[in-house]
């Protein structure tokens, strides 16, 4: 009787250990299953340039600031107030180099996406409300006034603008995401350079082949990433994308993308696997100890 009690108590202790293993493993696994965007190691960056990063007038960079292949000598203004950087500055170091490499990948990823619609010749301020998708311009794109992007209730909705050459916004232009979306799901793949007019309020990640210029009072809620040229700012760039759970690529092109992060093993599969391994190991040890 006593022996039974002891073994039941031992079994109960061991069962608790099994469950504890599973629960902790599941908690950790669920964190790692968060989706990441196509930007790779550029995610912490608000600004990335290749030849120069310049603060013309007072402007704030919220997030990391990087430059590669040029170094610190090509950063002008930052981080001396009123040109502020709240993140880390990476000047031609390994982090910046990797980020620039990832930027090439990111640019190519966006370039490879099929167009949902071709808006060549139209001003983005006149196209009406856009739903998630890939919108293409054969050459330049212009935004005058307001562009509204409707996420349709999907917090990880993705909007990609593939622009053949330049992106130019007029003074006071704006981009807004409605119906539960995030600025972080908006991407601007610019074939040459992007120029933001004064007081433009742009949302999304600008991935430009050459350079990015933000004129006085402009703001970017996202990232300004230039592959081969300079980033010149007279306005703010705020990387507000830290918690974004989507891939940045429209869900129609990435099955299981967006909020559906479907890992190799789900939380419960991890629990089950850990418990089974522990159980088999336990039984094997018991058998061999006899």
């Amino acid at each position: 009787m006593n022996l039974d009690f002891v073994s039941a108590s031992r079994a109960s202790r061991q069962a608790r250990v099994f469950l504890a293993i599973g629960a902790v493993a599941a908690g950790l696994a669920s964190q790692s299953a968060l989706a990441q965007t196509y930007l790779g190691t550029n995610q912490p960056f608000a600004v990335m340039g290749a030849t120069a990063v310049t603060c013309v007038v007072a402007s704030a960079v919220s997030g990391d600031l990087g430059i590669s292949p040029n170094g610190a000598a090509s950063i002008t203004g930052y981080p001396v107030p009123p040109c502020t950087v709240t993140g880390t500055i990476h000047a031609a170091d390994g982090v910046a180099l990797t980020a620039q490499t990832d930027l090439v990948t990111a640019y190519n990823t966006l370039s490879s996406l099929s167009c949902t619609a071709n808006l060549s010749g139209q001003d983005l301020g006149t196209v009406g409300v856009l739903i998630p998708g890939v919108y293409c311009f054969n050459s330049s794109a212009q935004l005058t006034g307001a562009l509204i992007l409707d996420a349709g209730g999907d917090p990880n909705a993705a909007f990609v603008f593939k622009i053949g050459s330049t992106l130019t916004t007029a003074a006071g232009a704006s981009v807004s995401v409605i119906n539960g979306g995030s600025a972080c799901g908006v991407s601007w793949r610019v074939g040459s350079s992007a120029t933001l007019g004064t007081t433009t309020a742009l949302l999304g990640n600008i991935v430009a082949l050459t350079s990015i210029t933000g004129n006085t009072g402009s703001s970017v809620g996202g990232r300004a990433l230039a592959r081969n040229g300079a980033v010149t700012l007279s306005g703010n760039v705020d990387n507000i994308c830290g918690a974004y759970g989507g891939t940045g690529i429209p869900a129609g092109l990435v099955p299981g993308g967006g909020s559906k992060a479907v890992p190799t093993l789900s939380q419960w599969a991890m629990i089950l696997l850990a418990v089974l391994l522990a159980l088999i190991g336990y039984l094997a040890m018991r058998r061999k100890s006899r």
Partner: protein, 174 residues
């Protein structure tokens, strides 16, 4: 035996926590994920010229279809569960090393097959893709790990001091 369970739990938590740290993510997990995508696409392009890899995204240049291999989709977590169990189980270090290598190989090879199959399933049917990704492949990966674990345990020398529940003190203890 309790020592095995506790050590397993500690290793599992420790390794999973370490895997989540930014330095390891940058140094190991992200490059590994990109390598997995490249390896998958290298195999696919042997018989399909319309496949291309861009980072962790595998694309079909024929129809624009793409799959993205996310942080939890690279088989690393499954391998960590197996490695933790092997390290916690009382066994000679030589056997542990062989088991871990065999386990990593088994999990990662199957994961490449999984990625390639999902790439084509998704082009054929979104429903089939979801079903395979959520149910079929999870079961197969688990089965793969369990088989490696069972085979490894069966191949362990019987003379190890299991009765005491203590791992051998030296590599040649068996």
């Amino acid at each position: 035996m309790t020592r095995f369970l506790l050590l397993f739990a500690a290793l599992l938590v420790g390794l999973l926590a370490a895997e989540l740290t930014p330095p390891l993510q940058r140094a190991v997990v992200e490059p590994w994920t990109a390598l997995l995508a490249r390896a998958s696409v290298a195999l696919v392009t042997l018989f399909d010229s319309h496949a291309a890899a861009s980072g962790k995204v595998i694309l079909s240049t024929a129809n624009g279809f793409a799959i993205s291999i996310e942080a939890g989709c690279n088989g690393v977590e499954a391998a960590i569960v197996l490695i933790s169990a092997m390290l916690a189980f009382p066994a000679p270090w030589k056997h542990r090393a062989i088991g871990i290598l065999a386990g990593l190989l088994a999990v990662q090879l199957l994961n490449v097959v999984r990625v390639i199959s999902l790439f084509y399933l998704g082009q054929w049917s979104t429903r089939a893709f979801e079903w395979a990704h959520l149910y079929v492949w999870q079961g197969l990966i688990m089965l793969d790990v369990l088989i490696v674990w069972l085979v490894w345990i069966r191949t362990l020398p019987t003379a190890a001091p299991f009765a005491a529940g203590v791992a051998p003190r030296t590599a040649g203890a068996s």
